[in-house]
């Protein structure tokens, strides 16, 4: 029996000893703690933290928690336990973002943004800031203001392989501008047995993004918003036309085989290895393609317009954003650090080292030519988070999955339009 007791005692002692030994050590230095999920940017953040400490004496501790879904769980748990760090990011829709604000976790940055005649606000891309902004009369009931700082921006556009363009007998400096030109290229792709456009359309939000670009182009923003509000049905001829574009692309040979079940990682791999003529992807792809195939020659283009009535619009805006913990005792220092982080020099460094588009408009000089091509269309960006209205998730799902059905020739655009409208009516009735 003595052996059992001795064993038990030894185990307890070991647990206590190691448990205490492994506990984090507290330091007296002033420290700003930042939680983030951006593995790719960790070395750049660490370097910037070192520079900030050298400049101000304030230690900045970037704590990386990846992957992003585990990070999101940590942030939610920390919010419930009131242990959020000084600065953190919220990876969620605006609805969830607003619940963090309502719970008093996020500091209103408007006074800081507007200080010195709006110096901080004016230095950042307005479209990027808009994602973190709540306008007067917003449906979430949030006090109007800016609640987050974008540290980079992104835009989702089309890319084309210049080498394959040459093989098709096309000018690699002249991507198609109209949908008709696009369709003509599709015929050449089909004739040469090549693969057309690749994209992560198994992750349906990318289909939604592509379809919305054309919806804005064909019927304009107001009509899209009116549809979401329920004033225009999805059976409207303009919506049928949007859905019909996918049928046309499929028939013209513009879509790569298996595009509806393709995840974006596969699409990136195919495009980087020169196995697809077009890709539909976000500006983050620059870094991805560089890693997969540094010699890849490609260009950036807007989705070819299907109508001249309204401008072509792409999804874009803030890439990643940081929020300041309203309950933090270091909130003033945290705001000052974010001001420094989004300043011209630091943004240029981040853009140069991480190949992401900077949030600061004045930092574009150090950005690579290909990233600059993305920037050129920043004025034409939009994002569902800034529309002020949001569609029912069931309707979005039916719309996106319906497009998949059109591509695989299971259903017609008219059938999908009718089905989506039926679901919309059902959801509206539920809400009433």
């Amino acid at each position: 029996m003595r052996k059992i007791y001795a064993f038990g005692l030894t185990l307890c002692a070991t647990l206590v000893f190691f448990g205490c030994a492994l506990q984090s050590k507290a330091t007296d230095k002033p420290t700003i703690t930042i939680w983030h999920w951006m593995t790719d940017r960790e070395p750049a953040f660490t370097e910037l933290a070192r520079r900030y400490e050298a400049k101000t004496g304030i230690r900045v501790n970037f704590e990386l928690y990846a992957p992003s879904d585990a990070y999101s769980q940590k942030v939610r748990a920390a919010a419930q336990g009131a242990t959020l760090p000084d600065i953190f990011g919220i990876l969620a829709e605006k609805r969830d973002f607003s619940s963090f604000i309502k719970a008093g976790h996020v500091l209103d940055l408007t006074p800081h943004m507007d200080a010195d005649s709006g110096r901080w606000r004016n230095s950042l891309f307005a479209k990027a800031l808009a994602v973190n902004e709540f306008n007067p009369g917003n449906k979430y009931g949030i006090e109007p203001g800016v609640y987050g700082v974008p540290i980079d921006v992104m835009a989702i556009q089309m890319l084309y392989n210049k080498g394959l363009f040459k093989k098709l007998g096309l000018d690699p400096e002249k991507p198609p501008l109209t949908f008709q030109e696009f369709v003509e290229i599709g015929k050449k792709i089909k004739a040469q047995n090549m693969q057309g456009m690749v994209s992560g359309w198994a992750e349906v939000w990318m289909i939604d993004c592509f379809a919305n670009n054309y919806a804005f182009n064909i019927m304009g923003k107001d009509k899209v918003i009116d549809t979401i509000k329920g004033k225009i049905p999805y059976t409207d001829p303009d919506w049928v036309k949007v859905l019909g574009l996918f049928k046309e692309m499929q028939e013209a040979g513009l879509l790569a085989t298996g595009v509806v079940t393709m995840v974006n990682k596969t699409a990136e791999q195919l495009f980087a290895n020169g196995k697809a003529v077009f890709a539909f992807n976000g500006s983050w792809c620059v870094n991805v393609y560089k890693g997969m195939n540094p010699g890849l020659k490609y260009g950036v283009m807007m989705p070819p317009r299907a109508s001249d009535k309204y401008p072509m619009v792409i999804w874009g805006g803030a890439g990643s954003s940081f929020m300041v913990n309203a309950r933090s005792k270091n909130k003033e220092e945290a705001v000052r650090f974010l001001q420094w982080l989004t300043d011209k020099e630091q943004q240029a460094y981040l853009a140069e080292t991480t190949n992401n588009l900077p949030a600061n408009k004045e930092s574009l000089s150090k950005v690579s030519e290909i990233l600059n091509e993305f920037v050129r269309n920043m004025d034409n960006t939009t994002h569902p988070n800034v529309w002020g209205v949001s569609e029912f998730p069931a309707v979005i799902e039916a719309f996106d999955k319906g497009i998949q059905s059109i591509i695989i020739k299971e259903k017609t655009p008219e059938q999908i339009a009718a089905e989506v409208q039926k679901i919309k009516a059902r959801e509206q009735a539920k809400k009433r």
């Binding site: 506990q23 990846a66 992957p67 992003s68 940590k74 991805v288």
Partner: protein, 282 residues
Amino acid sequence: MKSTLYYKAKKVTVNALIHVLLISVAITCIFPLIWMISSSLKTQETIFSDTSLIPVKMHFENYVQAWKEGGFGRYFLNSIFYTVSVVIGIILVSSLAAYAFARFKFPGSNLLFFMFMAAMMIPIPGSFVPLYVLLTKLHLRNTAIGYILCMINVGLSTSIFLLKTFFDKMPRELEDAARIDGCSKLGIWWHVALPLAKPVLAVVVVFNALAVWNEYVLALIIFDSKGLMPLQVALMTFQGEFITRYPLLMAGLTITALPIIILYILMQKYIVKGVTQGALVE
């Protein structure tokens, strides 16, 4: 004569079919491991272009780079400490509990046992937020002990179930003999029940060691300090938001998989015995 030939042919055919099936299963199990090792020896570029299992040029330096960049040294020690502590904790608590459930009749014992069984049905991610809040209130968040206690709790239900099933079938005469020799209840558990339960304990050890060794989401949620993180977190260093450094990730995975493969090989004899002796079935 015909009949013998028929039975021989039937036996050979059935055996061949069984072997083909087993070989197919074995290949599907081994292929990912071989692919992982093969990919760990390629570069970020060749991983997308060179699809052969034997790379043209082998980059063993990926292992050194993965070890250094991932900070594997500290994380490795942490994982070993967590795994050993949790497994010992689970064995002690679950074997005592299972023995009590199997041998002692006390009011509410069935209810208590079913409560443990019901806990098996709760997915771990569903308990993250309550666990986080509880640990914060107990001042155990961001401590090794907090994590170990959580992980012991996670592994208890299944282990109690496995051990109770074994103890239920254990001959009572052995315990009576020990009692005649002067053994106390705790002594019987230590000297009789536990040694007999070795095969089941091996299953409990391997299953739980595997679970703790591969766990990272709970660790990521309750730990803030890098110095406390387990090995799996180091692997996330190579998995970016948009870019994954596959060769380093695969090298890291190979390194992390090694200890658990060794443990399995060492305990293989007991595991097979444990499973076949009814550890998993009533």
